[in-house]
């Protein structure tokens, strides 16, 4: 099983090169080291795949896109530093990033005042594009992923309407805003539509033993168990759940992508999760998978990689629009044009065609994926 992250520091995306007249500099920021590195690396790989492709095909308006790639370890402080460096020292004109919501929000507070166009592949927290305190939308910030409440609600409705669930349990990582966000939305929606949430169990980062919580859940015998975490934990949770006698159906969020590598087919059988991406579903996806494998030692892309790719697609599409206006990369007008173009985008990525709502969140249906025989199979759009 080849699963190595492909490293491409150095080479073309080495930072610090003086901007050549004919290039457009964009930033790529995310956690490529540290605890959440696997997500960051996937997003970066996806984004770089598309941009390299564009460059190979002659670039945008004949100009090469130059990537300035930095690591933020998933930490807000680092993210802000790296972003500021991209702006001040490297002179980027747009940003793809960051990967985790917390780091992205920190960057947004820097990027919004200077009107830097940014698009995140995976920052799902509602607060990334919207300041609820002042009820303002960060007009420069876009994302290609679902927001947390959306997925939580979707899965609650799915449980009620498709699976006919009456009782539900949740198990989530308490310190993780993503998991908490999904869980909160799920619980809220479930109560509204008449599913009773019989168990609400948390765990902390780094925990590997969930048996105690699952034993509690098993005792309540819920119809569905919503586990909106990242796939490694979810895999472990499902495995241990079956060991302690939990029999209900597992539901998850888009963090489940790749979960089949972390739990047995038998344990996962019949679980559902919502995603933005269904592997192998369309020709475009198949092409993407093939390209990705070719670029990164035969690795299979996951949803994060696909979304990274899509983020790049949407951004490059906007760059084209700005270029078409004959503006100079790096100027404020240019940035405004990029934002403007993204706002009205209709770019087609691997996972969907994009358009944004008034909160700059993508308007697209969720893909429901069912796990059968250890495979992630497209079930329906929902």
């Amino acid at each position: 099983k080849a699963n190595e992250p492909s490293k491409t520091p150095g080479g073309t995306d080495q930072p610090g090169k003086p901007a050549e007249g004919g290039s457009i500099k964009i930033g790529l920021l995310g956690c490529i080291t540290g605890e959440y590195a696997q997500y960051g690396i996937a997003v970066h790989n996806g984004a770089k795949l598309y941009i390299n492709k564009v460059n190979a095909e002659g670039g945008v308006n004949g100009k090469q896109i130059e990537i300035v790639e930095y690591d933020d370890k998933g930490d807000g402080t680092e993210a802000v530093n790296a972003f500021t460096r991209m702006v001040d020292n490297d002179g980027i004109t747009a940003l793809i990033g960051s990967v985790l919501s917390g780091a992205t929000i920190a960057v947004v507070s820097e990027a919004y005042p200077i009107g830097m166009p940014m698009i995140s592949a995976s920052a799902t927290a509602a607060g990334v594009t919207y300041n609820e305190d002042t009820d303002t939308v960060f007009s420069n910030v876009f994302r290609v992923c679902f927001i947390d409440p959306f997925q939580g609600e979707k899965m609650a409705h799915f449980a009620a309407e498709v699976l006919g669930a009456k009782t539900a349990a949740v198990i989530y990582e308490t310190g993780n805003d993503y998991a908490v966000g999904l869980k909160d939305a799920f619980v809220k929606a479930a109560q509204e539509i008449g599913i009773s949430v019989v168990a609400d169990e948390g765990y902390s980062k780094g925990d590997k033993d969930f048996r105690s919580q699952l034993t509690n859940i098993a005792a309540k015998n819920p119809d569905v168990i919503f586990s909106p975490n990242y796939y490694e934990d979810d895999g472990m949770i499902v495995t241990q759940a079956r060991q302690v006698g939990v029999t209900g159906t597992f539901l998850g969020g888009d963090g489940w992508a790749k979960v089949t590598e972390y739990a047995s087919a038998a344990d996962l059988e019949g679980s559902y999760y919502c995603s933005a991406y269904a592997p192998g579903s369309t020709d475009a996806v198949k092409q993407f998978e093939a390209d990705y494998a070719a670029a990164y030692n035969g690795e299979t892309p996951n949803m994060f990689a696909a979304l990274g790719y899509d983020a790049a697609v949407v951004l490059v599409d906007a760059l084209k629009a700005a270029e078409a206006k004959g503006l100079t990369a790096g100027t404020d007008e240019y940035k405004a044009a990029v934002i403007e173009a993204m706002k009205n985008t209709s770019a087609v990525g691997v996972t969907s065609q994009y358009s944004f709502d008034e909160f700059n969140n993508p308007i697209k249906d969720a893909v429901i994926i069912k796990i059968t025989d250890g495979k992630e199979v497209f079930d329906r759009m929902f």
């Binding site: 490293k7 520091p9 150095g10 080495q14 930072p15 610090g16 490529i32 080291t33 540290g34 790639e69 930095y70 690591d71 930490d75 807000g76 402080t77 680092e78 802000v80 530093n81 790296a82 500021t84 460096r85 702006v87 001040d88 020292n89 917390g102 929000i105 920190a106 507070s109 927290a125 607060g127 300041n131 305190d133 002042t134 308490t174 310190g175 993780n176 805003d177 998991a179 908490v180 966000g181 902390s204 980062k205």
Partner: protein
Amino acid sequence: MKKNTVHIPMPIRYLINAAAIAAIYLIISALSSAGVITNYYTKILILICINIILAVSLNLVTGYLGQLPLGHAGFMAVGAYASGIFMRAVSGSMPTGLAVFLSLILAAIVAGIFGFIIGIPALRLKGDYLAIITLGFGEIIRVVLLNIDSVLGFNFTYGAASLKNIPKTTTFTLAFICVVVVCFLIHTMMKSRYGRAILSIRENEIASESCGIRTTYFKTMAFVVSAAFAGVAGSLYAGYLGILNPANFGFMKSIEILVMVVLGGMGSMIGSVVSAAVLSALPEVLRAFADYRMVAYSLLLILVMIFKPSGLMGTYDFSFTNLIGRLIGRISGKRTARKESAE
């Protein structure tokens, strides 16, 4: 009296030091308004200032008092949240300058109170037991910040969702002033009977007691002061980043601060300052190495400790005026020597 050192009288020492500090500040300001120091470097400078305050305040307990607390980030968190919640509450209804000033004071007081509450039981223990108990308190603070909202029933810290939209009021000038004030206060305290009492506890607690020093009182005092300054750093941090998440103040952050103190040399304030500056800037310098940067960082830690086990500065405390004194002494050395032989 060491030869070749001209002893500079106190008022002049103050003037020299004040001038030196003002010069540093003015140079940096000038450079940044000239655009040589960009926004990016300013950000790093602010971060360095915050880390200096953290390291210097931890050094008070680790280097001077000789204890090993592993929960310093907890105090920083308390200060950061106190200040963040305050700033969100008053933003718009109070002049910013006043609000910032009050938030710093508030952060110091709240963190100091936590230092007191935690210090009283923690200081009953010694060595590694003290380490673990402070680590425990630090983690408890983090878990409480994470989950308190569900107990209160309303949004207070916003838990995992982060406390967002804190006014970004921390400027380089503010951070620099705080560093100067904190260093000055710690320095003057250490050069007084209070500081000597703290040192004596590190050196030999039993002897210290028998010299009439109420060790429990002074230990607690050092702990509270250290916590309060960590709170100040937290407050600056809140105003720097504008968003707070309990995960930023975990055990690893405490370790990071401890590394700064030890690497700089325990009990050396200048050591803490230098190593906080170096270690804060290092990840940025190593940024170009991408994946390898954490490996480089860890190797550096190991190598410095192997080749310089007592830290970069040992227990040496740099005195700018003494240095000047020595320089003057060296220049006028011959004359002094002649005088001496005449005497």
